[in-house]
Amino acid sequence: MNKRVTNAVALGLLWVAALTTVGILSAVILYVFVNGIGVISPGFIFTWPEGVNAEGGVWPTIVSTLYVTALAMVIVTPVAVLAAVYLAEYAVQGRLVSVIRFAADSLASVPSIVMGLFGLALFVEAMGIGFSMLSAALALSFLMLPIVMRTTEEAIRAVPKYIRWGSYGLGATKWQTVRKTVLPAAMPRIVTGIILATGRAVGETAVVIYTMGQAINLPVSPLDSGRPMTVHLYLLAMEGINLPAAYGTALLLMIMILLFNLSARFILRRSSKT
């Protein structure tokens, strides 16, 4: 009898916890959706802000966000993937590797505003790149680097040793084995890691506010400044000028991140079938 009661209580608690999680998530999404959906229209998405940049659309901020994210991805991917290949395949597993891994994990937990400050000092000021897509992308890449590196390393380690043996057994060198069998086998999970890190970058505010500036500008060159969606959203809300537009921007941002995450899932799903 006692056992049954304990069981029922435990089950009840688990239920409550699960429901709370789902409830909070739904509340946030629903709130943003209800408040933001009214503003969203082709005009809102594809036109420029007007007046004191509080009216009108958000087009340049969408472009700035996508631009900086793509640039950061291009910068971070080769570095992170090559570092991960070295760590997983070549480095003698020992003290040095654990130190590098620990450093990467620590880097991942540095508050993003600190990373922004660092980006401001190094790229904007010391290197003289100024407020620009490039400065922001470099600072963002610091944020993405540990994520991509660690997921890539895990992906490489997850490739079964039998696959490597098959390649070595055919007279492949180590590099041929890594490039032609291990990396292709790990690719879906590597791509997933990159996409998840990219989703993180899309939603990042603190880093870009220090490094990209706030100019409403359609960036063309990497040295152009701009205003990403997150910063636009922050200014719309905190300066209290146009809350409905803030919710609209927030909703667009959430949809973009959702699309990123869905595409990551899609890639993983599809690859597990072949």
Partner: protein
């Protein structure tokens, strides 16, 4: 344990045919642990030679010495001599990468690469510099034919190798090895992870392949050794923690009908292992 075995004094017991691979006084170490001691054996060209023995008797370890696969495991060490066509394969001027092209290997777990059937078979030839489509097409076709898989896959060559059944995957791996035209094929318990119908097909295949290559197979299935091989070597680790050794090596028919060593007889009659 202490009784002397004169098999070591009579290393090349099976008389006819030249040795493709000759092993003399081989000791093998995993770090401080010695896994094999004093193994001397000659693998005859164009034959199937089986290594049998209970689990943990070092037969797979021994097999992996032939293409220096053990080099990939840190801390392993080989003493003694292994020759391929009279050439020492552990000589300093031998590149294990070249050696593995001449001595291919099939593993217990079928291990197609996550790519198409065609690309799996073309993998080795491409590694070694063959790029022309026509030439690759020919190699892929003939290798799959030799591996008895062509009929089943000729219309689905662009499908992923991992979509095949386990037995087909193993034949794909055989085709992949044949595509680099090795002289020897090592098979490490190739049938223990696949269905009986496929086992039958792979066993039939082995006899056909020896027209051009030499096969060495490790198996813990004695019936399989009896069915497919012409020569059999029996390995045994008598005491846990001590190195294993080669107990008896002879024509398969002699091993199974009139073993010379008492321990071989006990093993094949199922008294242990």
């Amino acid at each position: 344990m202490t009784q002397p075995h004169d098999v070591h004094q009579d290393p090349y017991a099976p008389p006819d045919g030249p040795d493709k691979i000759a092993v003399k006084d081989l000791d093998f170490f995993y770090g401080d642990f010695q896994a094999l001691t004093g193994v001397t054996v000659g693998v005859k060209e164009h034959s199937v030679t089986a290594f049998i023995g209970p689990s943990g008797c070092g037969k797979s370890t021994f097999l992996r010495c032939f293409n220096r696969m053990n080099d990939l495991i840190p801390g392993t060490r080989v003493e003694g001599k292994i020759t391929l066509d009279g050439q020492d394969i552990y000589a300093p001027n031998v590149d294990p990468v070249d050696l593995r092209r001449r001595i291919g290997m099939i593993f217990q777990q079928p291990n197609p690469f996550p790519m198409s059937i065609y690309d799996n078979v073309a993998f080795g030839p491409r590694l070694h510099g063959i790029k022309k489509k026509g030439e690759l097409d020919d190699i892929v076709k003939s290798s799959l034919e030799r591996a008895n898989l062509w009929k089943e896959v000729k219309d689905i060559l662009d499908r992923g190798g991992l979509t095949l059944s386990g037995g087909q995957q193993q034949r794909l791996c055989i085709a992949r090895v044949l595509a680099v035209e090795p002289e020897v094929m090592l098979m490490d318990e190739p049938c223990s992870a696949i269905d009986p119908t496929s086992v039958q097909k792979i066993e039939d295949l082995m006899g056909e392949l020896t027209d051009r290559i030499t096969i060495v197979i490790v198996t813990h299935n004695m019936q399989q050794a009896a069915r497919v091989s012409e020569y059999t070597a029996f390995f045994l680790q008598e005491v846990a923690g001590e190195p294993a050794e080669l107990v008896e090596y002879d024509r398969t028919s002699s091993i199974f009908t009139s073993p010379k060593d008492r321990r071989t007889e006990d093993y094949i009659t199922g008294r242990f292992g």
